[in-house]
Symmetry: C2
Subunit: 337 residues, 2 copies
């Protein structure tokens, strides 16, 4: 069975410079993949010209005249730009001519347009954004929600757990993944009421619920999945990105202080690059918008060619293993609420 | 004017091994400081014996027969251990014979006993935990609440901002510090309602309100203060600690791989140690329990001698500059709510 991926070719900070080369790399690796590039047809053809060996019979171009910008409001993206590359790409999935859509564009717009066009699955109240975060074990801890839902009720968090449970089985091939509920260690006054109730519901469910975890457990890899509301998830994710950026900036600046430290950098390079490789966020690129009637993958806005390739991998695994159908099925057979 | 610091000498992972040497160092640096060591009097005397040059006339010992353990419940710490070193140390502040109390013990117990004995200031609904987190600018971003209040109303967050505003002026000597409100970037569905309303209140206040910030702004140092509820603050803090631990563990393990990388480590040592120094969490030790009728400082449970010294510094600055009185005053003269 072949898989067709629809690409918002214009999306992200770099657009075609990243999307087209990454897609050509991907087609070379996977003989069972077709790719539909959506955007400015002339520019896409120009970008493809640089890859004369690309399998043109497996590349389709669908024209779209507009682009959702990174700072466009959801209102603009959803109501005004009806012929955006993002929207037309999502429409490919809706029309059944693509199995997944991948975009590096504006997250808010991607979620809003996907919800509008694809709709949510039966039993899912709110779609969520899930992504893998590198942990000490050299694996990824799948965390959700990362920003789609600022205020959550217990039943929403339980649904997130249920969706991620299927996603990790499908995309990472891990059977019966363990699920942690993000909570705080100190119960000085009282725990968060929503989290307490969620814990009770998860404990009573058929899921492999580990119990409460704390912020550092995300990086320890204590559980395969960490569930939290989108406000906390987004704050933790952004803070971690900020800390990682600060650390690597400091390391660079210290090694750049003088000719002596620059010389030291030459010696330190190999181990430090290996560290970077082990926690390379590019390997974990590709957040999954869960709960929609279609497979939607969000690549980081600043993704490069390598990084976008990992998002394509994730889309490919999810599509090939029928992630969406299996989530839909789970909500029919294992009604937790 | 001299300053008297009451020390929970038994608290933390290391107890007397850390607290007594750090206090002797501190007394040597500050001629205007008296220290009251609270705990097992015999053991304290034994620990002091190793510091024959310590100024005994400025060291007082107050006996306490019990110790709050790191995993004691709040119930146990508060109701059963009425002669704990933590509680007796707090009582010194209540009795007016000490200007501040410093403990490396159990945070939950410290907050609960402090609230019970000292009570909260007029106008403060809930005490909060504030600490400085190292940022890119080489300064500390003061963040609160870090775990005392899992569910917050807008007025609580405004009170946190008001207390931190005084704290940063007093402890860091920074006039009119800027205040950021932690929020999420993507407003996919709707922002968190509590945060939206808090933003309106802060905008209307006399505080130097910068506006919304995101998780990475904590490490960028975009504002001097970042306000959030205790659930989010605790999750961000713990996740950051986890990430930092993972990174330093990875760096160590990569440099330990072979004799070659160990040799490389020798060359890389100086710049890497300088990085560590620039973000040394020990320099930022000493969280402040704000909103109480007394100055209470929480040192990290695993604090070493150097680190505990920084917590003493913070207590000294807060006590000397009458932080508590100035917060009390702020709530009388600038009633924001």
């Amino acid at each position: 069975m072949s898989v067709t991926l629809a690409i918002d070719a214009m999306g992200g900070d770099h657009g075609l410079i990243v999307t087209v080369p990454a897609c050509c790399d991907f087609l070379e690796k996977h003989a069972d993949v077709n790719i539909t590039l959506v955007g400015d047809a002339d520019l896409i053809r120009q970008a493809l010209d640089r890859f004369p060996k690309a399998p043109t019979e497996r590349i389709h171009i669908v024209a779209a005249s507009e682009v959702v910008l990174m700072d466009d409001s959801i209102e603009i993206a959803l109501r005004r730009k009806k012929d955006s590359s993002m929207r037309v790409a999502i429409q490919q999935v809706k029309n059944g001519v693509a199995d997944a859509i991948i975009s590096s564009g504006n997250t808010g717009a991607l979620m809003a347009i996907s919800r509008y066009i694809l709709k949510t699955l039966d039993g899912v109240d709110r779609p969520a954004i899930a992504a893998a975060i590198p942990n000490e074990k050299g694996l990824g801890t799948t965390m959700l929600d990362l920003g789609a839902n600022a205020d959550c009720e217990p039943m929403h968090l339980v649904q997130f757990a249920q969706m991620a449970n299927v996603m990790v089985q499908v995309v990472e091939g891990k059977q019966n993944p363990s699920i942690g509920l993000l909570n705080i260690g100190e119960e000085l006054i009282k725990g968060n009421e929503v989290v307490k109730r969620t814990g009770e519901l998860l404990r009573a469910s058929s899921l492999n619920f580990y119990g409460n975890v704390e912020g550092d457990d995300v990086f320890k890899g204590t559980t395969d999945i960490v569930v939290c509301d989108g406000f906390v998830g987004n704050a933790v994710l952004k803070a971690s990105e900020g800390l990682a950026r600060m650390m690597s900036g400091l390391i660079k600046s210290e090694f750049n202080r003088s000719w002596l430290t620059k010389l030291m950098a030459v010696f330190a390079m190999v181990p430090l690059l290996r560290v970077r490789k082990r926690v390379d966020h590019r390997r974990y690129n590709g957040a999954v918008l869960l709960g929609l009637r279609g497979c939607v993958i969000k690549s980081h806005g600043s993704a490069d060619r390598i990084s976008f390739g990992f998002a394509l991998d994730r889309a490919y695994e999810a599509a090939k293993n029928r992630m969406v159908e299996r989530i839909a099925q789970a909500f029919v057979t294992d009604r937790l609420l």
